[in-house]
Structure formats: structure tokens, C-alpha cells
């Protein structure tokens, strides 16, 4: 059951609409006045440089989504999350940006640059000589120690600016894009806000929380924000954000699949079969069985599912970059050959690849199926393979693909293997599929 919770994964923290349930739990008694705490002093210094970033529908003049942000220079450059400004980046004719600072000032915000892989963006505000946040040196060099008190700032649920105390818990294990683990309370709307140490220096940028987790939140390390700031100062201004996003997506996935290709697969044993499991450290693999199911199943299924921690936010209706593979060893002593084949039929349908609004982002899926022998040796059983792919409409040269392979060597035992790759180049997809199929072997 935990694996199901894992699949629900990460929620970004921008706020698109207020939650329907807005009951407020009031504090029963007033807290006694105490000495000025670190949180108080952190918050006291924040107002003129802490921002709410609002994405407005240009013609309606009302917010379509909100997030947070913070100033990082005296000439009005501010950092926020890419997912906070994604609508304005992708549909500049429909959406525009506005900021509201914690001291009450407000005005237009202009998008200057984005970093898709690290979910960051830089906007420019018409502010001069305003105070701004600086980055923490220990965080920049990665020498922060676990347990350090951090303070997360932002405007949760559009209820007003807040400061939340929490602890730093190191880099997130298994994440392909580097993220920091922050244990504290965070809510939708705080995306893009800074998380600072007791001196008020920025350690990371609020980005997401774990759905189904308690107080488990993620930060983008400060050095990526600093790098984006530096790049923005040095480079030509970006004129076409759609083209820039496409360029960054292609560069990101090319690195991802190069890294996946280099580490490749390692063999794992499932019954009499050897199957390829993903070896990169940023994969999360779980196993499942139907052994305890009621009514008692007439065929036994033992499976391994691996999914990459590579989810990439492109737009509200498009997440991509996910790599999934699974193997199910199915065997039966009760079903006859036809019934067993029907059982496999249920397990081996080419499933819809998730990842976004279908018509907007993808061409219709095209499939090819056949009997394939990876090599003419007894170690390689004949396979029934269904291979499906669809092209990204808006990003040339990127495809989503999924394959299902069923071994055809026995009437009462089989391995059902799946591989699905999102936002992959066609040649990479074919090469990885080929290696995957070759690694499906029978040890009989």
C-alpha cells in the first residue's frame, strides 16, 4: 500500500484555486509574550523583499494562480518557481504577472528567464534600491548540517504572508534533479518563496511537498537560483519562452537518457526468468504479489515496478520525464493454457501513458506488434511485443513510448515486461527498448 502512496508523488505548491473547505481552527488561548524568537526576527526583516507572484488572466484582471517569490538584487530581480509563472511563459497573450510585496507595494512583474529542470524562474519588478535576500554560503557549498533550523516564507492559500519553522534534512535520496528535504509545514501558495536560516540567508526555494507525507517538503538548492541569476545577467534576454522551454526540455531529456543509457539495466531473477531492472540510483523499485488476494487468484503474480524520480513540470497539464518499468512473473497450476493466456491478456494491455492532456500535447498513439526473438538462443524466449509511441506536438523530436512484452515459451508460466519512457528521442527509445528486450531471458 505504501507503493500506492508513493505513486501519488509530489504536489507542486502553487495555488490555482482556493480549497472548498475553508474552515478555520481558532487558537484556544493567546500565547504568552516571550522574548523575540529567531522566527520573529527572520520575519521582521522580510516584508519589502518577500513577494506574492500572481498570474492574472490578462483580460479579466483576476488571478488564475498564485505563488510566492523573493527579491535577490537591488535592481528588482526576483526568484520564483517556474511552475508559478508557467502559464504566463507558455501563453503570454492570455496571462500576465503581478507582484504584491509583504509591505503592501504592488506592480507589474516581467518574466526574464526560466530554469525548467530546477523549476525556477526570474522576474523583474519595477523596484529600485529595495532590500533583497542573499544566498547562504554554507548552502551554496552544500556543507549545511542536518537538523539545522530553517524558516520557510511565503503566502499560503492567499491568507497572508507567513513564516514556518522547520529542519533541514539533507539532499533527497533518489531524486534525479537535486532537491533538499525540508521538514516543516508548507501549503499551496508558498511555491517560489525562500527558505532561510536564522540569519535570514537563503538556503533553498520552496517547490513541492510530498502528497501522503507529513511535513515532507522539497526545496530547490540555493546554488541553482544563484546560477540562474548569474546566467540571466550575462545572457541575451529571452524573447520566445516557448522556444526556450522546448530547448531546455530537449537538453534536459538528452542528459537524462544519456545517464540512463550509461547506467542501463541490471539483471534480476524472477522465477525461471532473468529480467532487466533499472540500475540508476534515482529509480525507486517496489515489488508486489497477489498471493493474499481474496477471492484466491488462480494464477500467481509476482512483480517488480520501478519508476524514476524524474518528474518534470512543464505545464499544469503536462508532467513528463518519467521512466517506468515493470516485470510480472505469472504462473499457474490451475488454469488451462487458454485460460492462462486470457489471464495474461488482462495483464498485458498497452496502458495509456499518463503525463498530460492528450489532445493538446500529443499526437494519437501508433502501435506495432509482433512476435520477436531477441536472439536465436534458448536463453532468449520468443516474445509477443506491443510497441506504442506518440509524438509531442509542441516539442519536435520528443516522443513518449511504451512497450509490453510477454514471453511465449510456456503455456503455464510467463513473464510480462513493460517499459515506458516519456519525452525521449526516437533513437534513444529504440536503443533502450532493444537492450530491454535482449535482457529478458529464460534460465531454463
Amino acid at each position: 500500500m505504501r507503493s500506492a502512496a508513493k505513486v501519488a508523488c509530489v504536489l507542486v505548491l502553487s495555488l490555482a484555486m482556493l480549497p472548498g473547505d475553508s474552515r478555520v481552527v481558532r487558537a484556544a488561548s493567546e500565547a504568552p509574550a516571550a522574548a523575540r524568537s529567531a522566527a520573529e526576527s527572520v520575519y521582521a526583516a522580510a516584508p519589502p523583499r518577500l513577494l506574492q507572484i500572481r498570474t492574472l488572466v490578462a483580460e479579466a484582471g483576476r488571478q488564475a494562480s498564485i505563488g510566492s517569490g523573493f527579491l535577490v538584487s537591488a535592481d528588482g530581480l526576483a526568484i520564483t518557481n517556474y511552475h508559478v509563472v508557467a502559464q504566463a511563459a507558455l501563453e503570454p497573450k492570455t496571462f500576465r504577472l503581478e507582484y504584491v510585496a509583504a509591505d503592501g507595494s504592488r506592480g507589474e512583474a516581467t518574466l526574464l528567464n526560466v530554469d525548467l529542470a530546477n523549476d525556477l524562474a526570474i522576474v523583474h519588478l519595477d523596484k529600485r534600491d529595495a532590500p533583497y535576500f542573499t544566498f547562504d554560503d554554507a548552502a551554496m557549498s552544500g556543507s549545511l548540517s542536518k537538523g539545522e533550523q530553517l524558516y520557510s516564507l511565503g503566502n499560503p492559500l492567499d491568507l497572508g504572508f507567513t513564516v514556518n519553522q522547520g529542519t533541514y534534512n539533507g539532499p533527497v535520496a533518489r531524486s534525479y534533479n537535486e532537491r533538499l528535504h525540508f521538514t516543516g509545514a508548507m501549503n499551496a501558495g508558498m511555491s517560489g518563496g525562500p527558505t532561510v536560516n536564522a540569519e535570514g540567508r537563503v538556503v533553498g526555494v520552496n517547490v513541492a511537498k510530498q502528497a501522503g507525507g507529513e511535513l515532507v517538503n522539497f526545496l530547490v538548492p540555493a546554488r541553482f537560483a544563484a546560477a540562474l541569476l548569474k546566467r540571466t545577467r550575462e545572457q541575451e534576454p529571452v524573447s520566445d519562452f516557448r522556444a526556450e522551454i522546448a530547448r531546455q526540455l530537449v537538453a534536459w531529456q538528452s542528459g537524462l537518457y544519456k545517464s540512463f543509457g550509461a547506467e542501463g539495466f541490471r539483471a534480476t531473477v524472477l522465477g525461471p526468468y532473468r529480467a532487466p531492472e533499472a540500475s540508476p540510483p534515482w529509480f525507486d523499485c517496489w515489488s508486489q504479489t497477489n498471493a493474499g488476494a481474496i477471492p484466491r487468484p488462480r494464477a500467481s503474480v509476482k512483480s517488480i515496478n520501478c519508476r524514476s524520480e524524474t518528474d518534470l513540470y512543464v505545464a499544469r497539464d503536462l508532467h513528463t520525464g518519467l521512466i517506468q518499468l515493470s516485470h510480472s512473473h505469472v504462473s499457474t497450476a490451475e488454469l488451462n493454457q487458454f485460460q492462462f493466456a486470457s489471464f495474461l491478456t488482462q495483464l498485458s494491455q498497452a496502458r495509456t501513458m499518463s503525463g498530460g492532456a492528450v489532445r493538446k500535447w500529443f499526437t494519437p498513439e501508433r502501435c506495432h506488434e509482433d512476435f520477436v526473438g531477441a536472439a536465436a538462443t534458448p536463453r532468449h524466449p520468443p516474445l509477443r511485443v506491443m510497441w506504442c509511441a506518440r509524438a509531442h506536438r509542441k516539442f519536435e523530436g520528443l516522443y513518449d513510448m511504451a512497450l509490453v512484452a510477454v514471453t511465449e515459451d510456456s503455456g503455464s508460466e510467463a513473464l510480462v515486461s513493460r517499459l515506458s519512457l516519456q519525452a525521449v528521442g526516437y533513437d534513444d527509445a529504440m536503443a533502450l527498448s532493444k537492450r530491454f528486450l535482449q535482457a529478458v531471458q529464460a534460465s531454463r
Partner: protein, 320 residues
């Protein structure tokens, strides 16, 4: 002596009057030998007599609407009758025959084989149920339950009986006989053909990798229904078969067209085909196992199709 026959619109004999004399008068008035209640027929409409050569002749008695040969629009005053082609007065068809009119030899009655069609019908029914039950048993992956088998079989029986009953009723209304057994044979043969095709299509989609056989199974189903409908119509009456054939063809071609359109629109909305591929035991594979190079060669060809889909989509967007 002669016989005057009043025909229906379908040119079947509706009534027949024996005329003992050498002349017959036909009209709406009660002074005629044959009285016709057709408001377009004159009180004294036509006179039938023998001419000098002994042929029967119809003579129009100066009516407002006239007298015609069946199928002709030329108004005639005197018509020589051959005993085969009717004449039309008002909206009524009349045929006059001599007592010497030649009739066909009697048909030889078929030998008493009434048991055979019943046996065939029972055999077909049993075969259909057997195919259905076998199919359900072979795809049974959970604990078998009697209701899983009984309810589809009973459902199908009810549909077949309802269908046969409807055609028997139509046949009874339009042809006078219900032909229950023949209609039953037609329906059962149709159901068996379609259900065997479905099994074959699923098998072919696996064994030879012919997914097209099951992708278009719905078209085969509708062709089957069309053939069955045509045979039922033919059982009602064998006249104007080309017209019935054309009607059935147009109707079911439309149905197939609409369903194809619906599927292609659903495909472009959902982005994927929702047809399930059935697997069979490995021993039933008939196609050879392809080597990897050939398989990935086929997959490389998909790329240009996907890219075409993409550019076409972009062009559509630019149009809008």
C-alpha cells in the same frame, strides 16, 4: 364464358368473378356484372366482349379518367386482352381470362421431410450455445460460476427469439404465412456465422498478427445483420429482390460508415485505440518469430508516420 379478376396493388388476385355470358360490364354502378367500389371508376366504365376474331377486348365507355394498360400512361379506348397483362381503371387493376387460359403444371410436393429443418435448427442452436460456452470457459480466469454461463446464453436466446418473432409477424402480415422455422434458421445461421468470425478474428490477430481482423469485426457484424435482414425480407416475398437488396445495403453501409467515423473521432480524442488484444497459448502461434532487426526496422518506420501526424496537427492549429 370468362373470368374477371380484381387485383391488389401487388397484382395479387383479390377477387374473381365468373361471367357466364359473352360480354361483361365493369363499373361502380350496380347495373354492372362486376361492381368496383373505387371513386375514380365511372358508373359504367368498361365493357369486355369478344371481337370477330374471338379475342377478348376491353372498350372504354367514355369515362373521365380513362382506361390504361398496366404500366403504360397511354389512354386507350379499345384494348385487346391477352389474359396476362392487367388493365387499370381508376386505381383498380383488372385482368380478364378466358376459360381456355393455360395454367402451369402442378408443382410436385416435396417429400415429407418436416423433421429435417427442425433438426438443423436445433443443431445450429446447440452449436451457437456450445461456441459461446466454450469461449466463456476458455477466458475464465476466476472461479467459475454457473450464472456467468447461464445469463449470456439466456440473454442471447431471448434476443434470437424476439428477432425471429418480429420477422414471423411481419411475414404473417405481408405474406400471410409466418414461416417461423425458416426465419429461425436464417437468424441462427447468422448468429453462428458472426460468432465464429469473432473467434477467428481474435485468433488471427494473435496467430498471424492480423489486428485488422478484430479491429473491423464490427463491420463484419453489420454485414452479417444485413445479409440476415435481406434473407428475412426475401422470405416475406421474392418480388423486387434488387430493391430490397439495395435498401439493406444502403442502410447497413450507412451504419458501418457512422460507426467508423465515431471510432476515428473517439481515437483522435482519446489518443489511443481501445481494442483489447487477446493472447492465446504459445503453441497456437502461426507467424514466424521475427528477428530483432526486422522488428525494430518496422518500428523505425512508425517514426515518419508520427512526424506526419505532428506536422498535420501543427498545420490544423495554424489554420485556426
Amino acid at each position: 364464358m370468362m373470368w374477371v379478376e380484381i387485383l391488389s396493388r401487388h397484382r395479387d388476385v383479390a377477387s374473381r368473378v365468373r361471367i357466364a355470358g359473352t360480354e361483361a360490364r365493369i363499373g361502380r354502378g350496380y347495373d354492372n356484372d362486376v361492381v368496383i367500389d373505387d371513386p375514380y371508376v365511372a358508373a359504367q366504365h368498361v365493357r369486355i366482349f369478344r371481337d370477330d376474331a374471338g379475342q377478348l377486348v376491353a372498350e372504354d365507355l367514355g369515362t373521365a379518367n380513362g382506361t390504361f394498360l398496366d404500366g403504360s400512361k397511354a389512354r386507350l379506348v379499345r384494348i385487346v386482352l391477352d389474359g396476362t397483362q392487367p388493365i387499370r381503371i381508376g386505381h383498380t387493376y383488372v385482368r380478364v381470362r378466358d376459360t381456355s387460359h393455360a395454367v402451369d403444371r402442378e408443382r410436385v410436393a416435396p417429400p415429407e421431410l418436416r423433421a429435417l429443418p427442425i433438426v438443423i435448427a436445433v443443431a445450429l442452436g446447440a452449436l451457437i450455445v456450445a461456441v459461446e460456452v466454450l469461449h466463456m470457459w476458455l477466458v475464465q480466469t476466476s472461479e467459475p460460476k454457473a450464472s456467468n454461463y447461464l445469463s449470456p446464453v439466456l440473454g442471447m436466446t431471448a434476443v434470437v427469439l424476439g428477432w425471429v418473432g418480429m420477422w414471423a409477424l411481419l411475414s404473417r402480415i405481408f405474406a400471410g404465412r409466418s414461416h417461423v422455422l425458416r426465419n429461425m434458421l436464417i437468424a441462427l445461421a447468422g448468429v453462428l456465422a458472426v460468432s465464429l468470425y469473432n473467434e477467428f478474428a481474435n485468433f488471427a490477430a494473435f496467430a498471424w498478427t492480423w489486428p485488422i481482423a478484430s479491429d473491423y469485426a464490427y463491420a463484419v457484424l453489420w454485414v452479417g445483420v444485413a445479409v440476415v435482414c435481406f434473407l428475412h425480407l426475401r422470405e416475406i416475398s421474392r418480388s423486387r429482390l434488387w430493391l430490397k437488396g439495395a435498401l439493406v445495403t444502403v442502410l447497413f453501409a450507412t451504419v458501418i460508415g457512422v460507426q467508423t467515423l465515431q471510432q476515428s473521432e473517439a481515437f483522435s480524442d482519446a489518443g489511443r485505440r481501445n481494442t483489447a488484444r487477446q493472447l492465446f497459448p504459445p503453441a497456437l502461434r502461426l507467424a514466424p518469430v521475427r528477428d530483432e532487426g526486422t522488428f525494430f526496422g518496422d518500428i523505425a518506420k512508425l517514426r515518419s508516420k508520427l512526424d506526419d501526424d505532428r506536422t498535420r496537427g501543427l498545420a490544423d492549429e495554424a489554420d485556426r
